[in-house]
């Protein structure tokens, strides 16, 4: 289930699991919410496309707009990566 995702795509996937809402606008995708600074919330469309093309995220119509949501496949992928990374890091520092 490994996927050669870019660093930006991983971060968007993480953001979705952290309850950050990412909305589709005419000119692209943007993270929205009270803590988002508009000038730095516009996401690269190529990064979002990566996730959509791999089936790790999907568009969801919530009635108030179209939002990006993580798929079960994306959840499994990210869960594995998160736990694998931390376990590898913990093992490495123990071995030093």
């Amino acid at each position: 289930m490994s996927a050669p995702l870019s660093a930006g795509a991983w971060e968007v996937l993480r953001a979705l699991t952290l309850k950050i809402r990412i909305r589709e606008f005419v000119d692209g995708w943007q993270a929205v919410g009270p803590w988002q600074e508009p000038t730095t919330s516009q996401l690269d469309s190529g990064v979002v496309r990566e996730l959509l093309d791999h089936g790790f995220a999907t568009r969801e119509d919530l009635g108030i707009g179209r939002y990006l949501s993580i798929t079960p496949l994306g959840e499994r992928l990210l869960d594995k990566k998160t736990r694998d990374e931390i376990q590898a890091a913990l093992q490495w520092v123990k071995d030093q």
Partner: protein, 304 residues
Amino acid sequence: MGEGPIIRPRDLLATWRTLPLEMQNDTQIAVLIIKTFLGIDWINRHLQENTKNPGLLTIGGSLFEANLARVRIIDLAESLFNLCRIRGFRDCVERMKTAANPEPSLAELHIGKMLYANDWPFRFVVPQGKRGDNYDLQINYYNQFVCGDVKCKVEATVPDSRTITNTLKSSRTQLPENKPGIFFVKIPQQWMEHVGWEAETINGAIDFFEQGTGRIVSVAFYAEPISIIAHPSRPGHAMAQQGHHFSEIINPRRRFGKELDWRFFGRWRPTNTNRPNIGSWNAMPPKYIRLFQFPEGLKGHEHE
């Protein structure tokens, strides 16, 4: 207590280069830094999934919880790495090492991080546990020494001004009578899901001030929301990170510095569009080195 280890950016980069490619990630570098300052036993107690007492930093539970813990781990490593030259840092870290719950020391580091970002000279101090001498920070505010106490245990699941007032009231005498004092109060994560939580917290401080304290000059509330920041000029670069949001309430009945506004967190405003160097990917001043997506945040510091 003498000062502890110092990690220089160039040392960190050198270690990074020795890591196998599959281990070159921000989690790895964060765990390495935490080990340097807090030790492997501390890591086993607080980060490991199978620890007896899981907490804020334990990688376990749901995908949401595991990812939130990951963000906090990297954020902790950033604080340790950037603040290790601040006076009293070693004492703060020692308290964190020995405490069953690392949250109070973590909160002190977060306030230290924002004082550092706003260029206030300060030091961590050892709380003495005595009336008038039981606080965490000493800050030089325009040549006046301010005593700061960090509160991270507000016990209420929904926003409640009375809880705030009571917490402040019961803690007032921790700060000295003859020097200006400030409380930094961490707002519980779940409060931010309620509409009007900010007004409720502000009312809590106002009610506290109305009871007549003069030694406390202000109360600063802070929250730690997660947001995603995209690099404004580098397509594809984005990161989910823990931020800090502050509300500073000034005591109109204060006994000290009536001519001063006693605000600490307005000097550095990443969202201030009048300052073109801000609104940056870093969301912190350039001197504060980010570890998210390492080594991206180290650019410009490689030789330090």
